[in-house]
């Protein structure tokens, strides 16, 4: 499937781009992270500490076990610091 993957804050900086469109067969967010981390050192660095990474699937907060079937957009970002 085709997925838009978005990055925010220091994840965006480490990866060097705000978004990328990828082809993937990943079944869950965890699979997708493993696949992306294997791409290059920048992705590996961004995903090195998953305790500091949050995720949204189609703009809803999701955990690492969330399934990706039917998803169009996955975003990775640090814990929010709004307000």
């Amino acid at each position: 499937m085709t997925l838009d993957v978005l990055y925010f804050a220091w994840l965006r900086e480490r990866i060097g781009a705000p978004r990328e469109r990828i082809e993937t067969g990943a079944a869950t967010v965890r699979d997708l992270v493993a696949e992306l981390s294997a791409r290059d050192d920048w992705h590996a660095a961004a995903f090195a500490d998953m305790a500091a990474v949050r995720c949204a699937v189609d703009q809803q907060l999701a955990d690492l076990d969330a399934p990706l079937a039917g998803a169009r957009e996955v975003a990775f970002f640090p814990p929010m610091t709004g307000g």
Binding site: F8, A9, P79, G82, G83
Partner: protein
């Protein structure tokens, strides 16, 4: 009953024009967040958001607060981009019959915004260097009370 994202400053008085009408309204609470210089060497904040998701999350939280606390009206305005020390970052307003509900709803919305709304802050020091603000355990703790 609305949430809004913008780069421009907001005017609290203008936001409260026509806010929360009706004879059963007894209490309005507002919260305004202001860029604070904790280190003594900060110049500004840069606030990043997730276009699309952020608006939706703010509207979802507002609707949830209205349901949970029986609000007559609510409003959230949140800015993004570069904000200097002393500038207002965001505001929440709540209107209810009684003061307890208006206060609780405003605090609930703030606790959600601080730790669940898709915003990320970067502190810009006077020397131009930037540093991402880390999430605080105290904000997670605050959220756990609801």
């Amino acid at each position: 009953m609305s949430a809004r994202l913008q780069t421009a400053p907001f005017d609290l008085a203008a936001e409260l024009q026509g806010f929360g009408t009706g004879a059963d309204q007894g209490a309005q609470v507002t919260f305004t967040g202001i860029v604070r210089d904790d280190s003594g060497r900060m110049a500004a904040l840069e606030i990043e958001h997730y276009p699309g998701m952020t608006e939706r999350a703010m509207n979802d939280y507002g609707a949830e607060a209205a349901r949970r606390f029986g609000l007559i009206d609510w409003r959230i305005v949140h800015r993004y981009g570069r904000l200097e020390v002393g500038e207002a970052i965001m505001m929440v307003a709540t209107a209810a019959r009684h003061r307890a509900a208006a206060f609780e709803a405003a605090e609930y919305l703030m606790d959600w915004l601080k730790s669940r709304a898709p915003f990320w802050k970067r502190e810009i020091a006077r020397d131009g260097t930037g540093q991402w603000v880390e999430a605080k355990d105290s904000d997670e703790d605050a959220l756990a009370r609801w």
